[in-house]
């Protein structure tokens, strides 16, 4: 169930990147100067960071933390 929810989270965040509703609009200007399409995508970057924080917290490959070193190839 956890895997499914995390997959869903990634899929939803991915889909949110395709903001077709902002395609042809420039207003409102966020903070008085940022066109909405640009402000949305900046917010999307913050969302991507939050998504990564959730993945690190809930799906971290803990088993890799105990890997022992071998001979250099």
């Amino acid at each position: 169930m956890k895997k499914f929810l995390l997959f869903l989270l990634i899929a939803v965040v991915y889909l949110l990147h395709q903001d077709f509703w902002n395609w042809r609009v420039s207003h409102p200007l966020v903070f008085g100067f940022l066109p909405i399409g640009l402000a949305y995508q900046a917010g999307y970057s913050i969302l991507a960071s939050i998504m990564m924080a959730i993945l690190v917290r809930t799906a971290w490959p803990k088993h890799l933390e105990n890997v022992e070193g071998g001979e250099p190839k």
């Binding site: 399409g37 995508q41 999307y44 970057s45 913050i46 971290w60 190839k73």
Partner: protein
Amino acid sequence: MIPVIVVGIYLVIIAVIGSVAYTRGKSNTEDFFLAGRSVGGLVFFLSIFATNMTAFAILGSSGQAYRQGIGIYGLMASSSGFVIPLTIFFIGTRLWALGKKFGHQTQVSFFRDRWECDSIGTVIFVLSVVMLVPYMIISIMGGGRVLADISGGHVAYWLGCLVVALVVTMNVFFGGMRGTVWVNVFQTILFLLFGAVALAVIRHALPGGFGDYISKIADNPKTSYLVTRERMSPQFFWSYTLIPLSSIMFPHMAMMCFAARKVTVFKRTVIFYPLAIMAIWLPCVFLGVLGTQLVPGLKNPDGVLLHLLTDHAPVWLAGILGAGIISAVMGSDTHQVLAVSTMFTKDVFAHYGGKERFGESGSVVFARVFIVFVTVVAYFVALNTPESIFELAVRFAFSGFAAMAPVMVAALFWKRSTKYGALASTLWVAACLAGTWWIQRISDGMIPTPGQPPTIIFPAFGHLFERTIANATCFGFLPVVPMVFGSVVLMIFVSLLTPAPGEATIKKYFP
């Protein structure tokens, strides 16, 4: 001349840091190529970011925004902020673990072992080098051009290229990966601050603030496309989300993953990666759009930020910001040179008997000689070849490396994947690159004028191949789309049709 002096001081600092790293080095390849797998914490984050960011993040992003508007941010920056940390999270951490466990220092070494086959590694090696070398050459070109522009023409282009090539060579030659990552810390901080400082300085110089200019752009029907995405097709926009898959497949990015001290250093990196991209790209894209009002009619829009800084920033600050741009150029270039040298040393020289004959220290000597050789060749090629050829090659390289990502995913996560599946995918990618190059070339005479729909290249095939201003497309999608999906399909079907790897190998990689 003040900006040139500031940049000169910066270059000396870089060379000194590289030389200090030399005193800490040991004479074995793991230390020279991967800093003894000891890169940790903040240094890892700043270095892997510098590896990935080039001058394009500052100059190219603002130039593209000047031409096409705000859509560039969503097209390249926020999509990268989503995809790249995901690939580092899922692929980078696994690569690190396998490198640590089995001693791999390059992707090719891993592929050879994973699929029990020398030849598949050699084919991937050739394709990777063919795609990486143009990137390295264009970095030297970019550095030369930036130095020439910052100095207002006092430093000739050939001299700018020479200075960049020399500093990069010294840095990598003496310091190897250790020198490179130490320098990256300084470089990345400089260029991460670049955007915010440039934005603040230019804002300070505009009494009315930014809002008036943006409203003017939005209200004018001739310029309103700059603050929307009305001239960008949704297929084009979506296609671009596949391009950042290339990041983890670039040999220098994979090597950075191998160089991490422990897997936990990836944690902060993946969380802060999207924010770091935003810190550079958002101000640069915004200023690029603003530049259409403040410095209209530029023939080379990639210079818009330099124009804005020259007009609005004090000369000493323009010099420091110029150093920030040079940092972006050199941060990635040093990693590219190191990666090419590592691949030739480990995947060719050592693999085909050099290590047995000359030992570890002999391999390091070979690597150093190769670093000098490859940068000398790159320098002369940079001076004597049109930049447009390499710009095109680099664009194709991103698609090519993106289409190789399914091979890596299969190697790491799918037991049943085979060398034949990997070979089929690799040959598909190579064939697509050659085909795209050809279609792009023959359609150069059909480029539509701005605002016009794409031109159909072969009327008999309908909309299959079309030509936009910059790209040949396939049903309106960038070539990366069929390349990635073709690579996935071939990997799956050819693997299922061919014998699985031996049980010992499966147990080794999937215990």
